[in-house]
């Protein structure tokens, strides 16, 4: 078993976890639980299949189980806005904070789909596999989440539409 295989995915697991739960410490806790479970189930991973997608599946299961225990709802009261790139200008920073706040207002199911597609750039098929939901469900969650974010951001009037770089 090669530790490096899993270790090289840690930064991306951390990125996804941070975006999913918001709080840095809770997110790293989620990553830690995911890694422990991954190690203990590593013999179930089929060499040659996509390890990253497999790790996202494990993280999803850990997240769902923990959310079920209402753990993250407590944590969300203590949420911080994640650190943003130092290059961000003040207005960009405001936009980023708005986007983050709106992201938190989505249901966990919608947030997972949006983040796996937008940030992790998984294909719809990979998302369907990782979350174990039909592709139609992926698409309807994605569509609803994006529209909700658009409405919330538009309604606040703080995010002028601009050309995407």
């Amino acid at each position: 078993m090669d530790r490096r295989l899993i270790i090289e995915h840690i930064p991306r697991l951390r990125r996804y976890a941070r975006a999913l739960v918001g709080d840095r410490y809770v997110a790293d806790d989620l990553v830690q639980d995911t890694l422990e479970r991954a190690w203990n189930k590593f013999y179930l991973w089929r060499p040659g299949s996509d390890l990253r997608a497999w790790l996202f599946t494990i993280m999803h299961n850990v997240f769902v189980n923990q959310a079920r225990r209402r753990r993250y709802e407590i944590e969300q009261a203590m949420e911080e806005v994640p650190a943003v790139s130092v290059r961000a200008t003040q207005s960009e920073q405001l936009e980023l904070q708005d986007v983050d706040r709106v992201l938190r207002s989505l249901s966990p199911e919608q947030r997972e789909v949006v983040l796996l597609v937008a940030v992790e750039q998984l294909t719809y098929e990979e998302v369907s596999g990782a979350l174990d939901i039909p592709i139609g469900t992926v698409m309807s969650r994605l569509s609803r989440a994006r529209e909700r974010m658009r409405q919330l951001l538009g309604a606040q009037g703080v995010m002028p539409l601009k050309v995407v770089k």
């Binding site: 944590e75 203590m78 994006r146």
Partner: protein
């Protein structure tokens, strides 16, 4: 032009389209400005979310995460061997759920937050002062539904200031406060933990300026917080632990 379904529009911003499909969608968008505007907003969401969270990739990975290893190596090996022999999956599933649970990091955070809120108080650091220690301990014990003890830390230079009742995610929380002759304060945070009773090792967490040692003992979580060096705090934490587990 055949009407496009919603999913096809999303495909346009999420990539992986053939040239033909791309041209078809672009033709649709040219004559449907509302859809075009919508997609532009969605694409911008993608860009904003990436600039928000991509910096996480450049952060150093915490040592605790690099240190995660398959634990219970023997159990794993045994489970794998049994699996290889084809005796059955049930045993492996059992093994998987035996992994020891970590105390949640949030215990450390909650304790550090309470420390930061109350330890700078000059006039009202506690609700019940050390002069009424017996009343304090009985009252907090009653509220937490267990028999508490206020550890004696005078040999280490820390006298009990008193304590207070706080509210936490699992209900009532007890906080004991100590201070040394220079006014340096430590707080001990005691809260009921959810789930099955369990024991954990000492864990350390640096919450900004506050150092926290925390552990779970049975149904209760304990966290000792202070703005002192880790090594000094560990000495106190060990004494606290020994007094609570004579």
């Amino acid at each position: 032009m055949k009407p496009l379904v919603e999913a096809e529009l999303h495909t346009y911003i999420d990539g992986a389209l053939s040239e033909g499909a791309r041209a078809e969608i672009e033709a649709w968008l040219a004559s449907h400005p509302e859809d075009a505007e919508r997609l532009r907003a969605y694409a911008e969401q993608n860009a904003l979310l990436r600039s928000l969270y991509n910096p996480v990739l450049d952060e150093p990975v915490p040592a605790a995460l690099l240190a995660v290893r398959p634990h219970a190596g023997l159990r794993y090996a045994a489970a794998a061997a049994i699996f290889a022999l084809g005796i059955g999956l049930g045993w492996i599933v059992r093994g998987m759920f035996n992994t020891p649970q970590m105390p949640p990091v949030s215990l450390a955070r909650l304790a550090a937050t309470a420390h930061v809120v109350y330890s700078p108080e000059v006039r009202h650091p506690v609700e019940v002062p050390a002069g009424e220690e017996e009343h304090l301990v009985n009252w907090l014990s009653k509220r937490l539904g267990t028999t508490l003890k206020a550890p004696k830390l005078a040999p280490l230079g820390y006298e009990l200031v008193g304590g207070r009742l706080l509210s936490g995610p699992q209900g009532p929380v007890a906080q004991f406060m100590y201070q040394d002759t220079r006014g340096q304060r430590l707080t001990l945070y005691v809260s009921r933990q959810r789930g099955e009773p369990r024991d954990t090792a000492f864990r350390f967490s640096q919450e900004d300026r506050v150092s926290v040692f925390y552990w779970v003992d049975g149904n209760f979580g304990y966290a000792l917080s202070g703005e002192i060096r880790k090594e000094q705090l560990l000495q106190v934490a060990e004494v606290v632990y020994k007094q609570l587990n004579p």
